[in-house]
Amino acid sequence: MMVREALNSALDEEMSADPKVLLMGEEVGEYQGAYKISKGLLEKYGPERVLDTPITEAGFTGIGVGAAFYGLKPIVEFMTFNFSMQAIDHIINSAAKTSYMSAGQISVPIVFRGPNGAAAGVGAQHSQCYASWYASCPGLKVLAPYSSEDARGLLKAAIRDPDPVVFLENELLYGESFPVSAEVLDSSFCLPIGKAKIEREGKDVTITAFSKMVGYALKAAEILAKDGISAEIINLRSIRPLDRPAINASVRKTNRLVTVEEGFPQHGVGAEICASIIEDSFGYLDAPVERITGADVPMPYAANLERMALPQVDDIVRAARRACYRSVPMAAAQSY
């Protein structure tokens, strides 16, 4: 099943099960979704539940949050999360903090979803990863699916969850296909929020990743296996809450950690994971924690520079080898 279909079916099933669920965003209705994620939903559920909005993120996000205050379950789509910055006050100050400020009187069962991170060749203003920004905020839950199973299970969980959820998809994954079991296809399927998945078991080094980088990490694991390095790949699935117990348990087993993410390095997801391991499992580390991240620059357009600005499989392999004390020639000698 393609990730796109997985998301579409999750939306469809949840809208069918609960009349309070509705979808709003730019082009979600008549255009069938900018990336076709909401294909067929307008026809099935009508214009009262699938709402095309004007290009006014602050306005429609505020309206979505207000509807959630009243008790509806809106899904607000951002065409990409870059545009969520126009509405970020409503995500943080109106949605995330309201349950706390009202001592639980007002809950906000809303989902903010859309593609996050880099696509291909879309330049600096359309390529940022917002995982660490949103995940630092108490009151939000932040999810990042990788496979079709993740997409279905986590989106259904997000829609059913009574708290505000930021659901970070990835445009380049929409067209990727993954095998899915009958259990995943069942309409009651749901994944727990806050639990990571061990995509591949290993014993020499733990590699954490989320979204598209999980695929890259799995490829890196194949290459490392040929070298006799058995990598354990953790698909985080949930950035907030972060599954610290799972990551710590894995590192206590392997004693080495590489974190992988697409976003900017400073104050990123890997920084949080590294700090967490040092606090809870310092004695188990046999090597410093390695971070593989996007480059510390706005995303360039030229294909070769864009490639340098994002983690590649080679980068993950190299970092894992470093963590296992097997050195490689420095990058200066390499060409792309």
């Binding site: 309206i63 207000g66 009243y70 509806l72 409503h90 109106s94 349950s99 639980g104 806050g194």
Partner: protein, 396 residues
């Protein structure tokens, strides 16, 4: 007024002959009027409208309603003045934005609607909360950060809520409450409830882009939302003429109709809100501009006299005070005596003092409250205090 004095001082036999002679209606004035006989009163000034027909200046009311206006506004006034003292005594911390002078807007609006209609406002919310049924104890406790507060002491002055009475806060970010209010109206329409939302904002917030974004969507989708601009003519220290190229806020909706209302006249406010509620259920959004005034500065840290003159403030108090206006109406129609009204005020003062005393008894929140309500469903995850090795909690 000699007759009034006579009536109030003795419910004696003197009453009956006088009553027959002067042939009052059968619900002739009792000592404190609880009559629901209709009474029609003209608003102080006519309404000015934009793209709609204004409602009539003649407002239907009853003696009972007018007395309740007086009591409610006097309670709000006394409450805000008491909050001023508590703030100066350092029992209230942080921000404290007082509403005294603007009471007629809160009270007039309530008279036109039900608790199924929704209200959302900004941070000058103490009186709006009381209008929705909030108690003085909840107000003072919340202001002092105590458990008996409406938000268990965790919200503070700007974050009062009362969802079961349709009050959605209490918001600190200028202008954010307007799209939220449009969202409430969206949900009301979606739920087919025949109810409406009043989204209040100030002249300072009136230029916010998100307001126009939400208004556009509300007009496109015919949402039953009433935008009320409480124009007290100053956005913090900036007078309206310095902030808005066009301070005719009731016209700023352009394609959305509007009405300008004397916000110091509770009856005019009631009439406008009644009109607006009927309008939006049929035609989509409307803007009401309430011409009002705040006696205090923007907040307790603003003396309120560096950007306006004391003469202006005392002038408004003399000429347009909302409580004095209702007092005059009540006395002119012989619905109560001056002494009775003063007695109400004394009673109210006592109620407020009692509520403050009770609020002072309420304890501060338990330390475990620090981690409560971050989520509805905490999923058993961990949250950390300042020293995460010392203070950790599991969110249920």
């Amino acid at each position: 007024m000699a007759l009034a004095h006579l009536t109030s001082s003795s419910r004696s036999n003197l009453l009956k002959p006088l009553a027959t002679v002067l042939s009052y209606t059968d619900s002739f004035r009792r000592p404190i009027s609880t009559s629901t006989d209709p009474l029609t009163i003209e608003t102080s000034v006519p309404f000015t409208s934009h793209k709609c027909e204004p409602p009539s200046r003649s407002v239907e009311t009853t003696p009972q309603e007018l007395i309740s206006f007086f009591r409610d506004m006097a309670t709000m006034r006394r409450m805000e003045i008491a909050a001023d003292s508590l703030y100066k005594a350092k029992l209230i911390r942080g921000f404290c934005h007082l509403y005294d002078g603007q009471e007629a807007v809160a009270v007039g609006m309530e008279a036109a609607i039900t608790k199924k209609d929704c209200i959302i406002t900004a941070y000058r919310d103490h009186c709006t909360f009381v209008g929705r049924g909030g108690t003085l104890l909840e107000v003072f406790s919340e202001l002092m950060g105590r458990q008996a507060g409406c938000s268990n002491g965790k919200g503070g002055s700007m974050h009062f809520y009362r969802k079961d009475a349709g009050f959605y806060g209490g918001h600190g970010i200028v202008g954010a409450q307007v799209p939220l209010g449009c969202g409430l109206a969206f949900a009301q329409k979606y739920s087919k409830g025949e109810t409406v939302t009043f989204a209040l904002y100030g002249d300072g917030a009136a230029n916010q882009g998100q307001l126009f974004e939400a208004l556009n969507i509300s007009a496109l989708w015919d949402l039953p939302v009433i935008l009320i601009c409480e124009n007290n003519h100053y956005g913090m220290g900036t007078a309206e003429w310095r902030a808005s190229k066009s301070p005719a806020y009731y016209k700023r909706g352009d394609y959305v109709p509007g009405l300008k209302v004397d916000g110091m006249d509770a009856l005019a406010v009631k009439q406008a809100c009644k009109f607006a509620k009927e309008h939006v259920l049929r035609n989509g959004p409307i803007i009401l501009e309430m011409d009002t005034y705040r006696y205090h500065g923007h907040s307790m840290s603003d003396p309120g006299s560096t950007y306006r003159t004391r003469d202006e403030i005392s002038g408004v108090r003399q000429e347009r005070d909302p409580i004095e206006r209702i007092r005059k109406v009540i006395l002119a129609h012989d619905l109560a005596t001056e002494k009775e009204l003063k007695d109400f005020e004394k009673e109210i003062r006592k109620e407020v003092d009692q509520a403050i005393a009770q609020a002072k008894e309420s304890p501060m929140p338990e330390p475990s409250e620090l981690f409560a309500n971050v989520y509805v469903k905490g999923l058993g995850t961990e949250a950390f205090g300042a020293d995460r090795k010392e203070v950790r909690a599991v969110l249920p």
